[in-house]
Amino acid sequence: MKHLLKGLAAATSLAAIVATSAIAEEPKRGGTLITVLGSNVRNLNSAVQSGIVTGFPGAQLFASPLRYDENWDPQPYLAETWEVSEDGLKVTLNLVKNAKFHDGTPLTSEDVAFSVDVIKANHPFKSMFAPVESVDTPDAHTAVLNLSKPHPALLLAMSGQLMSIIPKHIYGDGEITDVKAHPRNNENTVGSGPFKLVEYKSGEHVILERFDDFFIEGRPYLDKIVMRIITDPAARAIAYENGELHMGAFESLPRIINRLKKVDSLTVTPDGYGAIGPLDWLAMNTGGDGPLSDVRVRKAIAYAVDKNFIQNALMQGTASDSRTGIHPDSPFYNGDVESYDVDLDKANALLDEAGFPMDGDSRFSLTIDFGWPGVKPQVEYVKAALKKVGIDVEVRASADFPTWAKRMGEMDFDMSWDTVFNWGDPVIGVHRTYVSDNIGKGVWSNTQGYSNARVDELLEMASVETDVEKRKALYAEFQQIIADELPVYHTNTLPYHTVYNTEKVGNPPIGIWGTSTPIDMTYLK
């Protein structure tokens, strides 16, 4: 009955919207946004816990020095202005003067210096701040990051959820590595972001409310955000459809995405995931002396596996083409590389040339792994596709993620389906897969055992090149080589989609960081 009443209320508010929609849309203050997290939150402190689940509440609770617009241009946030010195070795942040933590304590450059220390000690993405040697605090509102070498990745690393400024007066009470398990990470968590924590109930919800002393005048627009924790994608889909949820992100099941696209009240969009950069790919272990150490075999596999089938049949058109290790939405993406359109003759010829002649109906056999049930169709498809060119593939299931992660980390596999994220600048999430000094260092390292001196050199240069155009050229060449040598056969993006109620949600977070960004400009119509 409650729901009937809700429907009635929605109908009348719809009438109100129709009546006023002639006027240009102005953000409205107030209201409670009901949104959703797809899995339980481990830790709300985004300075020590990365990942997309913590990213959403984390970016609301904690502010970062910069934010990015949808064109990948940095915008002021906690830093009013910032400058990078001529030699690229000093980055000066001029902080806003009115920023306060939710407990009323003013935010100062001390907190910035402290947060850099905490992130360096605890955050998994070491490359973000590795070149940062020290942070000077000449006055309360100036922080100077001293670098050992130019570090162009730093700007993106200072946005979204990657550089949460946490209060020193709360988290500075013990050893710096203990912040990982600090009691205030999940309870009474205090930041300087647009929303403050009301309640986190494990497995149930995270509730945030407007921080009235937020340093940007008049923001945020929403009074409250309820993040419900609903782990079942089918249940989430029904909740979007019947209006129980206003908005949600990271929906990736093609069947559900396509169903929701047909619902009139909803907008379903793949926009907003460029910086997170999730990619699906077929990893090939190039180490050892098996067939996969021969680049011709890897190319033959790419020609035999039809990525159109993966994109259109398995992903049902929800995923886009992605040919290199950099997400297609990134300014560094170079799609002008070999696309490996399916060609079985070429594949057979390459395998013959590599010295694996057809013996009966088979040349040799390989195994393929997968780490979670969602990608089993891809793996089964690869098996069927490679059978056509005489490669027998045995599918190896893993009981769960750790089992698979261990196999990957120890490079105990031939091929595997994998999903890896860019996490902002290529230095953070791309280099790790291809540089030779990161071979076999756990899951999502260079598990392919791939080593190419020119790639190492290019990536090293790109990590210190401050000129954007020169950097793009370096990454373009890198992507050419990767597409040519195929340590990984890149097939498609992971089809993350944001779903929101078109009539209710104004200005949803579809910039480059998805929901891992402050939603102080989102409003309810």
């Binding site: 409670t32 990942g51 605890n122 149930e204 019947n242 129980e244 992660a405 261990k406 890896v420 756990g442």
Partner: protein, 325 residues
């Protein structure tokens, strides 16, 4: 005195059982390749070897198996279930927060399944070949053979999407303001679908058993005698026969209690019911050993208490049970 003796032996058995549960499961968890450091790294989008090693050292996962097991059992003996690796919270707190939701779901589903099952079983026993009886048989077979997650989604589509009577997920609507009763009604609304889903499986068992037991009792001499005395059909069925037909149903209900709890894992997952089932599921996936063991500890406790209550209930309906021999 009798009850006291039962309690003492029960507590002894319980202690043995709990130790076995903990040691076995700890060993099983340890045998599986990979550990919680991997899933923590997964939740963070990847971590380097250095951080993985640090996490393992922090949680003592780099120690020898025997040392880890010994330390864990030692803690349990001092009533300390430890710290969840994955959630960085005391396990006891994590579980106690979730236990009420699971108890509410499991007990209400069990009661509904029992009451509806027995009533329908009795009705169909009276006319074993009537239409009503066939209908009950059909319902029972359907409930028993349909997987709960499927039944759950089906009910969601019917009653949350097509006819919007019930909410989709969770246990409460946090936007609702109001006193105790308003909130109780809200929880009740959220409870209906998961409860029916869970009850549908067990209703099948109880109705079939009640039907069989009732038919047997209805054919016995004393029922014929009662009928011959001229008692009304209703009195015969509900006063004389039912009590005797009930004891096998109650015995089964007690035995099934652990099955209801495991059924709750799936139902909770479908309806995002914030109970132990969801926590168990997530902890197993995350390899969060202390939490899994804590949940097993508590579920074993609940089953033990459930069985004890079943015994007591049996004594109430059937004075022959536990009487002086």
């Amino acid at each position: 005195m009798n009850i006291l003796r039962i309690l003492v032996t029960r507590v002894f058995y319980a202690a043995v059982l709990l130790t076995a549960v903990l040691v076995l499961n700890f060993s099983l968890m340890h045998l599986a390749p990979g550990d919680v450091a991997d899933t923590i790294s997964q939740s963070m989008g990847g971590a380097d070897q250095e951080l993985l090693d640090q996490i393992r050292a922090d949680y003592g996962l780099d120690q020898h198996f025997v040392v880890q097991l010994g330390r864990y059992i030692g803690n349990v003996l001092t009533f300390d279930l430890g710290f969840s690796f994955f959630y960085n919270q005391p396990v006891t707190q994590l579980i106690l927060e979730r236990l009420p939701a699971t108890l509410l779901l499991v007990i209400s589903a069990q009661l509904v399944a029992l009451i509806v099952g027995v009533v329908l079983g009795v009705i169909s026993a009276q006319k074993p070949n009537g239409i009503a009886s066939h209908f009950v048989t059909f319902l029972a077979l359907f409930g028993y053979s349909a997987p709960v997650f499927w039944t759950g989604i089906l009910l969601l589509i019917a009653f949350s999407l097509q006819i919007q009577w019930f909410p989709v997920a969770g246990m409460r609507d946090v936007t609702i303001e109001g006193g105790f009763w308003v909130k109780a009604v809200d929880v009740a609304q959220h409870l209906v679908l998961p409860m029916i889903t869970l009850a549908s499986v067990f209703f099948a068992l109880y109705s079939r058993l009640a039907r069989a037991a009732m038919m047997e009792v209805l054919g016995s001499d004393y029922v014929r005698t009662a009928k011959a005395k001229g008692l009304r059909e209703r009195t015969v069925v509900y006063k004389h026969a039912l009590k005797n037909a009930l004891s096998p149903v109650i015995t089964l209900a007690g035995l099934q209690f652990s099955a209801v709890i495991s059924g709750a894992v799936l139902v909770e997952a479908v309806f995002s019911w914030p109970g132990l089932g969801t926590l168990a599921f997530q902890s197993i996936i995350a390899r969060d050993t202390p939490t899994i063991l804590g949940i097993l500890f508590f579920s074993a406790l609940v089953v033990i208490v459930g069985n004890l209550l079943t015994d007591l209930a049996l004594r109430l309906v059937d004075p022959r049970v536990g009487g002086k021999k």
